[in-house]
Assembly symmetry: C2
Homo-oligomer: 598 residues x 2
């Protein structure tokens, strides 16, 4: 069925137009799977990729220089790119001469012209913000009228990290002239374009609630298309600063919709759409998903895959363009984040390296320094990946890195870095707290992030619904719910979450908690509640820890230690009893007013 | 407190004696943390490391060539090694001249002479097999008498992958002569050594149950020593073939003892013991831990750390020798394995690449090909790492790789590749099976590996103990226990495992299961049982799935889908009822003899 190529005796040779950090990170993965890389870069042996391959595999030259591109293509099995602003015409000529270019020149030529990109996706029914060609100032004014203000003006080609974009607040001649100036279009000061054809297009303003990135990988033969999980892409001054994976504050259905739109968009490009594609999307207030733009290569929003997935975007790009079987796109950790390291305002490497040096001391941080020859304020100099088995554990490190990099917490989705708890402890009434606090004590003892709240099934039914529905997406993994009498809370919560719910029947004065017990434990088929003994919230805490143990050897060890402690305590009591004899022991107990039931 | 070095503006330069696969894998991690590597290797630009650094960073020459070692040391900040059989004398001279050699020449000189190594560890009270210097044939005979037969004869220096070892079955002149021949010691055929001093020592035979490897990392300033988890190291013809991490069939206490012995051994080497150390240990039938031997560098048994830990042994070696803060040694996945790819019997690369090509199609396999110039039967050509969120899921891929590599399953610890279940379903009596099977159906539906067994608290108390104590180490993560009447099974199991235990109160004829419910749910403080409704094993199965969801987003999604299915089913019933009206609906129900309680 699959016609995939294999790793062979001779290394597969891949020529890459561009030898920046993306090329370098490909080159660091290529040798493992029998791929040898060659690079074309204007800075030659000073480019980041040149530090990780023999220099005989580096060609110095412009990315648009036809002769140099031909030189690169001469001895390789596949030509690929790490940036779309390259000599696409040359690549198309080479293809006609039989050279294997992946992604193909046709695909690159659609993508590098953002207006053609939009037209293509529009024709293939991919949801987009409204857009319009604007070759003249008059067309810009028409667009402002039809699409509304503010209006986004974009260069069709060459844009990158926010360059090539300008926002029009009014359609006045002055504002238009300013925008054209910013976009590098020479015009008369009165804003008339003097018949000159502007290389621009306009996009309607989208009031998005967040920007999401999805990395899509497609095989050279088009048989397989797969996507990594959708992530939050947090920009600052139009430059990606932080990625959170999987995306937070985005409902699962919408996350899946983003992934589907992204895959459909790449599939719509057809033959020659191979390797990795970075797909940027908007989620609007109404929950609709719109494609922003795509990049035909590994992408900044996919760097987290290096340390959070079995196969990174770099290996998968190489697999895709070489026709090797695609690798898994699943995350192997619960949560991950990426923080870009930008050249410090001072411009010195020493200042720029502060976050990396801090990261070396963090147990789940991985430093990726690009080794660029020159450090400049604001330049992408490296990135740091973080992984975690819970958001709460990871976020304390993330916030340290954000502080060093000067990224305000308010720029994150939701405007804050929630220390999302792993365990939620809720109860029907504040009068349950004396009982329920024993669960909290255990969570503290085992150092498990938790939150405590009052949620009454009967008195705050709306809160019950919103709390239960949101719990899993907030990062919670276990819910402990205590209630007494007609104790509906645990069961109702369980009906609205996939998480395990532990029910604590609170003791009542009328029926000693048997009413609570029956209400909680006798759930119908399909909706389980893990019920503990009447009033025994301590055991609910321990059960929550045991549940979390299913994926954490270290926590399992702690639980075993706790069990040994209990054994020791009882043994101690036993020695005392046998030493003193039962009468003396009983006397001592009475005097200390201790309960028999330890 | 910590005097660790930092990543700086200029890259730290590390010179490595040896440019084989270990050097190559260091070089693939070094650039990320601002380290530039230089290599000395006899094959020069044809060595595996040379494919991943500029060739100006490769020196061709023997690993014992003083001039070449000096050339390597000239321009670097730190000199390290990827093999211990190097010109240690030159390194010691260089140290006197102020060169930073890590690990130090003194440490290397102790380790590369296995007899000195033994003497050192013996003096530092590290548990060892009995050993004896054997410089003459007479001494060999004495050793055979005192340490018993069979006797292991080992070359003091130069041994590697089983070379330099010979087993003496009897102390006859003939057998000794054969052994000396194998070890390359020229002797008279009558076995007399003619006064020649033999470069050998003898070790008493250890009937070990398994070999365990522990990778230890130590910082250059000696402030920090840490260990990765102990692993099974499975050898074939004295060459490492498979590693299982963490070690299986080894009790947690013994695994921890291995890690402690390994750390103590490395700490005993004192100043200059820096970077990674591969520590090989034996576990005897009696459960004691003995040090076999150590290597002062990254080691084959630590390759799994590349894909199973945040920071691999290669990065940690560099951090250790450079004085950077040590990285975490924790696994970020539940389980991992490594399979060495040896040159196929045919000696061709094509045959040798079979396992790697198969691995490209496995979702959690990562291929590490070494790019050696020449493929030879039996030569280490690469390795494949596997990770998994459970042994059961990983082992199906592992067994495929073992088959391709010709590694018999019988060579694994325990002699088999157990598909260890994630959930154990047990019950007090076979009469509980009709009830308990609903749990099994759910586990099948969600595709969770499980096992079913009868364990009676009162009739098979010994089995109760052994089952409960072994469950976690066997890879189980949740136990479902059903029992009726004086239903002690769930609670007793919970008292002997850190895993979450779900109790199913089986309905009884005398008290309708209320006896079972109370027996199961009313556990004392300290030992929780997650109790479900009387007879509701289906919910127990669902609860087990929800517990496993705590670490698996994909399973969480499946649970949400299941909940939607239930909603749809009830909605369908509701439409039917409103369509038909209650009388007609009731008639239809009666005719179909359906229970009201769906």
């Amino acid at each position: 069925m699959t016609t995939s190529r294999k790793i062979g005796a001779a290394p597969l040779k891949v020529g890459c137009v561009g030898g920046g950090q993306l090329g370098r990170m490909m080159a660091l993965e290529a040798p493992r799977i029998g791929i040898q890389m060659m690079f074309l870069d204007p800075t030659g042996i000073h480019c980041p990729a040149a530090q990780v391959v023999p220099h005989s595999q580096i060609i110095e030259g412009s990315l648009k220089d036809a002769d140099k591109i031909r030189e690169l293509a001469k001895d390789v099995d596949v030509v690929t790119v790490e940036i779309e602003h390259v000599g696409v015409e040359t690549l198309q000529e080479l293809e006609k001469e039989g050279v294997n270019v992946q992604p193909s020149g046709r695909v690159l030529s659609i993508i590098r012209d953002k207006f053609l990109q939009k037209e293509h996706f529009d024709a293939h029914k991919i949801p987009l913000p409204p857009f319009r060609e604007t070759q003249t100032v008059a067309a810009i004014k028409d667009a402002a009228r039809d699409l509304g203000l503010p209006l986004m003006l974009k260069s069709r080609t060459g844009g990158y990290d926010g360059r090539g974009n300008a926002v029009l607040q009014t359609a006045s001649d002055e504002d238009i002239a300013d925008a054209l100036q910013k976009l590098g279009c020479a015009t008369e000061t009165n804003g008339s374009s003097n018949g000159q054809v502007l290389d621009l297009y306009a996009e309607g303003w989208i009031n998005f609630v967040c920007e999401v990135g999805v990395m899509v990988v497609r095989s050279a033969n088009g048989e397989d298309t797969d996507s990594y999980p959708a992530v939050n892409a947090i920009q600052q001054d139009s430059i990606c600063r932080v990625v959170l994976a999987p995306a937070r504050h985005v409902k699962t259905e919408i996350r899946q919709e983003c992934e589907k739109v992204a895959r459909n968009a790449i599939d719509s490009l057809g033959q020659g759409a191979s390797g990795m594609f970075g797909v940027e999307l908007f989620i609007t207030k109404e929950g609709s998903v719109l494609l922003n733009e795509i990049a035909p290569r590994p992408h900044n929003t996919g760097h987290y895959t290096q340390d959070a997935c079995t196969i990174s975007q770099f290996e998968n790009h190489l697999r895709g363009v070489c026709g090797l079987p695609l690798g898994s796109t699943k995350m192997i950790v619960e949560t991950a984040a990426m923080v870009n390291v930008l050249g410090a305002p001072s411009g010195t490497e020493e200042d720029t390296l502060k976050s990396s040096n801090a990261a070396l001391k963090m147990p789940t941080a991985i430093v990726h320094w690009y080794g660029k020859l020159e450090c400049r304020a604001g330049r992408k100099m490296g990135h740091i990946n973080l992984t975690g088995s819970s958001q709460a554990e990871m976020d304390s490190y993330l916030s340290q890195l954000l502080a060093i990099e000067g990224i305000p917490i308010s720029s994150l989705p939701g405007g804050r870095l929630e220390s999302s708890p792993l365990v939620g402890v809720i109860m029907g009434s504040h009068s349950d707290l004396p009982t329920m606090n024993a669960a909290v004590d255990i969570l503290k003892k085992f150092n498990i992030p938790y939150e405590v709240d009052i949620v009454s099934a009967h008195r705050t039914p709306d809160k019950l619904v919103s709390y239960s529905r949101a719990a899993a997406e907030r990062g919670m993994r276990v819910i402990i719910a205590g209630a007494g009498g007609a104790a509906h809370l645990p069961g109702m919560v369980a009906s609205m979450t996939p998480l395990p719910v532990i029910g604590v029947p609170v003791k009542t004065s009328t029926l000693s908690g048997v009413d609570s017990l029956y209400s909680i434990v006798q759930m119908p088929r399909g909706i389980p509640v893990a019920t503990v003994a009447i009033g025994n919230a301590l055991n609910a805490g321990l059960l929550a820890v045991r549940m979390l143990c299913t994926s954490r050897p270290d926590l399992r060890q702690k639980m075993m230690d706790y069990q040994l402690e209990m054994t020791d305590m009882v043994n101690e009591m036993s020695s005392k009893l046998t030493d003193l004899g039962s009468d003396a022991f009983l006397d001592q107990m009475d005097s200390k007013n201790q309960a028999v039931n330890v």
